[in-house]
């Protein structure tokens, strides 16, 4: 099972109009990306320290990588995690009455996953990206 399956769920629930569905779409869009990034880091040989928080660990690895595309992915996670927290916990927020946040989250997650795939499918590109990540 791959994390990006959650992005399909995000697209599915985003078609429903209720605020609950719009919030769920944001949440799934975030998880689709963060799980794929986590698993890529594992595949690339990085190990998460036992006491670290997986969300922060993944974000920091990407944001502080020298590779530009990894930084873009880290930036997407920085934005999406904030939106995900708001969607999951801030029930007073009126932001999700509109479909715009969910659509943006799905787009950002999709774009970041395309970058990840480009890196993954090109051995030279992948080696350079891995070398740019701080342990």
């Amino acid at each position: 099972m791959s994390g990006r399956g959650f992005l399909d769920v995000a697209r599915d629930v985003a078609t429903k109009a209720t605020e609950f569905h719009q919030r769920a779409a944001v949440i799934h869009a975030y998880y689709g990306l963060v799980l794929e990034c986590r698993d890529a880091l594992f595949r690339w040989g990085f190990a998460m320290p036992p006491r670290d928080n997986v969300h922060a660990w993944v974000r920091l690895r990407l944001v502080f990588a020298a590779d530009k595309d990894l930084k873009v992915m880290g930036r997407a996670l920085d934005t999406l995690v904030r939106l995900r927290n708001e969607a999951s916990y801030d029930l007073l927020s009126s932001k999700f009455a509109s479909s715009a946040p969910a659509q943006r989250a799905i787009q950002d997650s999709t774009t970041a996953l395309m970058l990840l795939d480009q890196i993954e499918n090109d051995p030279t590109r992948r080696a350079a990206a891995i070398a740019s990540i701080q342990p």
Binding site: N53, A56, V63, F64, K71, N85, Q134
Partner: protein
């Protein structure tokens, strides 16, 4: 380039308190100043408190840099510049607590 006097800055009291507790005022000031220098079309800066949800172990502070969406370049070169500066200047330990996000605004001025 933007100047300090033309970019409004708002800091939530809870965010200011956390920055003080963490002893990261200098780092926050550095990040704000760099954002003012680098981000074209910057309209305002908003410093928010972010509670410690399950996606990170600590409470943190988020700097929202509101930018005129029309000022964004195709490759977002200025964000790339900021990001490189940040990686070279701000440690991951600081970044865990202080994060800058660029928010594009379309025809919306407060």
């Amino acid at each position: 380039m933007n100047t300090i006097t033309t970019v409004p800055l708002a800091i939530e009291p809870q965010a200011a308190q956390l920055v003080k507790e963490l002893g990261m005022q200098a780092e926050l000031d550095q990040m704000l100043e760099r954002a003012r220098q680098i981000i074209p079309g910057l309209r305002r800066l908003h410093v928010l408190f972010a509670p410690p949800y399950d996606t990170g172990p600590d409470p943190s502070v988020v700097i929202e840099a509101y930018r005129d969406a029309a000022a964004q370049e195709p490759d977002d070169l200025h964000w790339d510049l900021y990001s490189k500066w940040q990686s070279a200047t701000i440690s991951p330990d600081v970044y865990r607590h202080l994060t800058l996000l660029i928010v594009d605004e379309i025809n919306h001025v407060r």
